[in-house]
Structures are given as C-alpha cells and as structure tokens.
Symmetry: C2
Subunit: 225 residues, 2 copies
C-alpha cells in the first residue's frame, strides 16, 4: 500500500525567543525538522514525504539541506495561512490511493513503534489518531482572572501522526475552512468519517517552549528512535 507522510512545519513563529522558527532549532546537533523527516525515512525508505514550510523559509531549508548533506528525497510545498490551508496545499501532491500520515514537524521524538502501530491500524480504520490520557486536572481559563474546572474522565491529548485513507482525507479537505478544526482528525470527522483512537506515546513530545527543547535534547539521548 502506497504511503505518504505530510510533515507540517508551517510555523513562522519565533515565540521561543530564538532567531529561527522552532522547526529549524537544533536538538542533538540537528534541526528538529531533520529528525522528524529521518524518523519517517528510517521507518519506510519508500514513503513519499511532503514537507510543508512557510514560503519564506523554503530557501533557508534548501540551503541547510545542501550544506549538510541532507539531500533526502522529499517534496516541499508552501504553507498556507492556517494549518488547514497548509495541509490542503500538501494534499495536491497526494494520489487517491494509499494512506496519508499527517505529522507535526515539531514532533521529532516519534518512535518507530508508534509509526508501526499507527500505520498498522490504518489498514483497519479509515482515520486513526494516537492519543494519551490526561493525568492532570483540567481547568479552562475564562478571561484573565477566572477559570472553571473541566471534567477529566475519558479526556485524551491527541498526538500525531494521524493517518487516513488518502481518499477520505482529500475529500475532507474539500470542505470549507472552519476555526473549529484543531487537527486533521476534526476535519475528517466533520466530513462524516469516524475517527479511531489508538494509544499514543508520552515521549512523542510536541516542541513548543524552550523547556521542551531542553527536554527533547535529553530524550534523544535516553530513548532509541
């Protein structure tokens, strides 16, 4: 079965206080995005990878790849104004057959076992997402000062890769954009296809803060990928 991986690294953000968008920051001596791409290539050297980058960053990444012997086989497409539009752009390069993994560029700690389990589940269900249980109490901020407790039972933190039948995902992304979409699963669900949840991996961190970067640095040395 034909496999695609859409790696979404559309962030322009320099919220981390660094001089580059976070997908280009280095952990373990390599840009986060490179780790992420390498995970998928190591899992399946025949996988077709589509990397979504902000238009302004494509040249930066090309330069890095040229200069650092990372001339791996993948396509590059420009990010849109939201994640939805970024994935929509990427899907132009995806055929109607096979399965598509959509993965956050800033999740470099995705382990082989999780890739195996998600792709395997995708043989049985049209839409698969990995998720881990919330172990802490939840509270929703309501304005600056107020907050309300939120019921935790059954609550899961959704990770990536989220894997879909190519046709299902492409069809879902023909819908009009809505701010209610928080991930690809929610887009697919809105198109009427049920989403199947499988166990995620707590190590599969989404790097969003300087602390996460430090954390990822350590995790790279502690776990095998």
């Amino acid at each position: 079965m034909k496999r695609y991986a859409v790696i979404v690294a559309g962030g322009q953000g320099v919220r981390m206080g660094a001089d580059r968008p976070k997908q280009f920051l280095e952990v373990g001596g390599k840009p986060i995005l490179r780790h992420t791409i390498e995970r998928f290539l190591a899992f399946d050297p025949t996988i077709e990878i589509i990397v979504v980058l902000p238009a302004a960053q494509k040249e930066v990444w090309r330069d890095y790849c040229r200069g650092n012997n990372f001339l791996e086989r993948y396509s590059m497409v420009s990010g849109g104004i939201t994640r939805f539009h970024s994935v929509q752009n990427a899907l132009k390069y995806v055929g109607d057959e096979g399965v598509v993994a959509v993965h956050d560029g800033v999740r470099p700690l995705v382990r082989r076992d999780l890739l195996e389990r998600t792709f395997e589940a995708a043989l049985r269900w049209p839409a698969v997402v990995p998720a881990v249980p919330v172990v802490e109490s939840l509270r929703r901020l309501d304005g600056e000062e107020n907050s309300v407790p939120v019921r935790r039972d059954g609550m899961m933190l959704v990770q990536t890769p989220q894997i879909f039948e190519a046709g299902v995902l492409k069809n879902a992304y023909q819908q009009a954009f809505s701010t209610a979409y928080t991930d690809d699963a929610s887009v697919v669900e809105a198109s009427g296809v049920a989403v199947h949840v499988i166990p995620g991996d707590r190590i599969n961190l989404k790097i969003t803060t300087p602390e996460d970067l430090q954390l990822a640095e350590g995790l790279l040395t502690l776990f095998s990928f």
Copy 2:
C-alpha cells in the same frame, strides 16, 4: 508566615507493574517520595511537612528512612479511601494560621522556582494553582469506540503544589465528599473561594507510567532542582 506542605502519596497502586507503589520506586538512586520531600525541605528548612501514606505502607517507609539515613523532620498520616479523605486526614495536623501547599508525592521534579512563585502568589490570593496550557488537540473517549473533539482554547493542565490559606483549605475540607473533586482547587472552589491560576512548569511531571519513570530519570540529570 507559617508554611505547611501536605505531600499526598496515598497510592497503593502497582499499575506500573512494579513490586511497590509508585511513590517508592527509585529514580536517580532514591525513592520518588524522598526526592519530593527533599525539594520542600531545600526550599524552606522550617516548613512543616505532612506525608500521607497508605496505612499499610507507613512501616515500609519508616524502614526505608531508618535504613537510609533519611530521618528528616516530617509527620506521617494514613491515607483515606480517596485523595479527598487523605488530605482531610492530613489537615488535622495543620493549624488555622499560615499557608498550606498540597503536593502530589509523585511529582519529584518540582523546581525551586515554581515553589517560590506559588508561595509568593499565596501571599496575594487565598487559593493558587500552577497550570500549563494544553498544546495538543483534546478528545474525549465516549465508550470503547467513540470519541468527540473538545475545544482546547483556554484549557490548562493543573499541577501541584496548590497553595491555600490554612483556614480556607480546612474550611473547604469540612464539606461532604463529592466525586466531582479532582484536586484541592476544586474542593476549595466548591466552598465559594475563587482559585487563582499561575504559570506552572512543564518539567513538573506527574509520574504515572513506566515511561514517565524513565523520563524523570533523565530529567533529574538534565535540570537543577
């Protein structure tokens, strides 16, 4: 101002697949619970610590402490049938003046900075909880097969230490037990006192799975406490 720390290690669980409740498992060569107690003592040597343990585990812990030169000054009380009842037991040893931190025994990675910030905030608000934003999509499992997406905006993962004016906390714990209570903040809130949220610390992990244990092992070497 008089400071108390109620460290809740009431778990009997051996879900981790180990031979001991998780608060006794070792990271960095020491039981998790010892790390946790040491954080509070390092922050404030005069703090009054009350450790809540399952009745059946008190002797185990006493033996460990005797055998390992950890004869630090703290009281031990027996856990109740729920976390609510455990904290209720501990509050019998708390006076009416001062502030009380309630902290999970399985959060050994609480850093000095977070302790400083929470205790400082407690000078201004009667109920303070640290929390970090949810960065992932949320989904609630509804039975075995179904799940529904949950709005993420404003959603926070609540950590400990949660810090309260002693009188406020003791008063709140005179209420009847409810399964709606997920943490001390929710108990205090039910008594009519508003809870103030301050930024938590993503490193302040709650150890609940074998992966967390491995993670904590690494974090102990990566960060300073």
